[in-house]
Symmetry: C2
Subunit: 408 residues, 2 copies
Amino acid sequence: MAKINSNYQKLQAGYLFPEIGKRVRAYVAEHPDKKVIRLGIGDVVLPLPAPILDAMRAAVEEMGKVETFKGYGPEQGYDFLLNPISAHFKSQGAEVAPDEIFVSDGSKCDTANIQEIFDVDNVIAVTDPVYPVYVDTNVMAGRTTEAAGGRYGKLVYMPTTAENGFDPELPKVKTDIIYLCSPNNPTGAVMSRASLEKWVKYAKANEAIILFDAAYEAFITEPGLVRSIYEIPGAREVAIEFRSLSKTAGFTGTRCAYTVVPKDLKARNAAGDFASVHALWNRRQTTKFNGVSYPIQKAAAAIFTPEGAKAVKANVDYYMENARIIREGLKSADYTVYGGVNAPYIWLKTPQGMSSWDFFDNLLSQVQVVGTPGSGFGSCGEGYFRLSAFGIRENVIEAVERIRTRLK
Amino acid sequence: MAKINSNYQKLQAGYLFPEIGKRVRAYVAEHPDKKVIRLGIGDVVLPLPAPILDAMRAAVEEMGKVETFKGYGPEQGYDFLLNPISAHFKSQGAEVAPDEIFVSDGSKCDTANIQEIFDVDNVIAVTDPVYPVYVDTNVMAGRTTEAAGGRYGKLVYMPTTAENGFDPELPKVKTDIIYLCSPNNPTGAVMSRASLEKWVKYAKANEAIILFDAAYEAFITEPGLVRSIYEIPGAREVAIEFRSLSKTAGFTGTRCAYTVVPKDLKARNAAGDFASVHALWNRRQTTKFNGVSYPIQKAAAAIFTPEGAKAVKANVDYYMENARIIREGLKSADYTVYGGVNAPYIWLKTPQGMSSWDFFDNLLSQVQVVGTPGSGFGSCGEGYFRLSAFGIRENVIEAVERIRTRLK
């Protein structure tokens, strides 16, 4: 008798974005004449820049000729992509060898799959609010008990709110695996060097592992901020880093990301002996994954050329100007806003302590702007709201103007 | 203290193909003057046909314009691909709705990931020989004990050898989840309609689930053979089917596949209540996967147009003519051969009961042909050897000629 993985039945409701989609579709069906502006889901809108397209075009032509056709590639990614990524890390002050990099089809996949190589009994720590994938995948794997009051048992939640400057405090209980995201989705906060040093020290002292999600590092604009956790001495022994081309280069529909597992990273097996985490992830990827499509890897490699880097930087700058417009506009309307300086997300406090979903409904019904309720990211996100800077400029300006002038 | 998933340490040696690669590289380094012909790993060599390339080219151009740019798509795949796949099933006599199809980046991923949605205590049955991914992913998930004599404890192995006509017998112990692959990798055998009917009946009687890998269905040449398990009445209640474009359309480096989870398929939860397996897989995919790259899905959709279908059929025919050449050539040299009629693999008996790896080494050192040792697929594969029909014609002819005339 086949039995399901009953842990799935502990999962609360659907994923956040389907619920948003449902409410927006219902509104649009009732008000087909209204122009809805979507700043909810963090999806890019600008087309792929010319150098990226050129590389993809050339690779498509290669696939059409027997002399240059490509079948199976290395599951970890081609050297033509691994080498420039390694050099990119070096330019940011981080030592990452090409064979410590694993190219994949998305950071969502990687941050979701990484937990497989760890024991089910590890204690997991997440921030609150948090990117839901970290939590849900650990629920599915059986690392939690049932949810109560919006939180799963056994998970360690670390509040990151305005009260602590969105900087998670070290957990009071012992934890084994800690998810950190900087620049943060959803709060837009960047962890300081001192904070990351504190975390690396904590991980070393506790033989814990940090899963560092740097999907938004390209959006850091202020100098001196940490882009890779490997800039922190000792991090290679305690941290895995995830990076994505989705927002960096507009690859949400093109699909490419990469994950770093340093060879210095060890964790204990059931007998208490150390094992190489790099070897485990390599085994996982070679057994369960077949590498990223060749033309997509070629397109990704173009991002690391001078012309490609310049072009994707221009797109990032465009979104960050959107972020500035949203941030300044809301401030001038007396909203309390966070983020939007080193991240494409503006995290605002709802007025008069309104609930996140009430604010969502007001925003949609009164001014036809879609955002993301903070409570969707965790109970500490209640009373907050996320606006994404990924929009066409004129829409962003109009959305801010509508909020400033028409939202009651 | 972070602990690894110690189940990984039960895994025996590396995956088969890295070992082959190692031996071939060593040989080539010592004999740089010899021309090695590779019929080992099942990787295609013909370029993507024109209709597929045209669709990919057009999609790349769409990604370069703001009006047609695509960001996140549905995790399950776009309707423009799901609908023709559904129609394709219908043309084969199988009822599969578009929303029962999940497009992915590979059947290796899907057959590897599917076990996640099932309880760790299910009893798993596999054929012997078997595609190693089915086994290894269940070892990783903790469904086996340590290996002894090339077999993992708790797994149920079903011998499929010349003695039983490569048709696995129903297991004598109760099993919950059964992996079947037809046309078979590595034996090249196709399961008969009667055999599949027997399996569907068994699954119903035992509330078991069949994981049916049909990655090679496009290579069936004889009329009347079953291409989809859903041609068998009742299969929608007991089976998941995996299909791949890797070999069908030369997508090993392009990456696209699809999996069918019928809405009629149920399995019990820990409390003994029925749950929808479709809902579980949908939750798995939406949480851990972001869909296949847009240009790749567009290319895949072109396979299901009349021009695309004709073009990929021509490539399949080319490989099956290779298969005929290998099969007939070896037969004429008194080899006992199986497969190669409805599958791109020829499964031969090694001469004089030689071990699979000894035959591999002889073949490489004497005639510079690379194949795959049968024992790499399981202990019942010992004394067998797999040759792949995925080669350029002149190389295939030369390989057969070398074996016929020069192999001692």
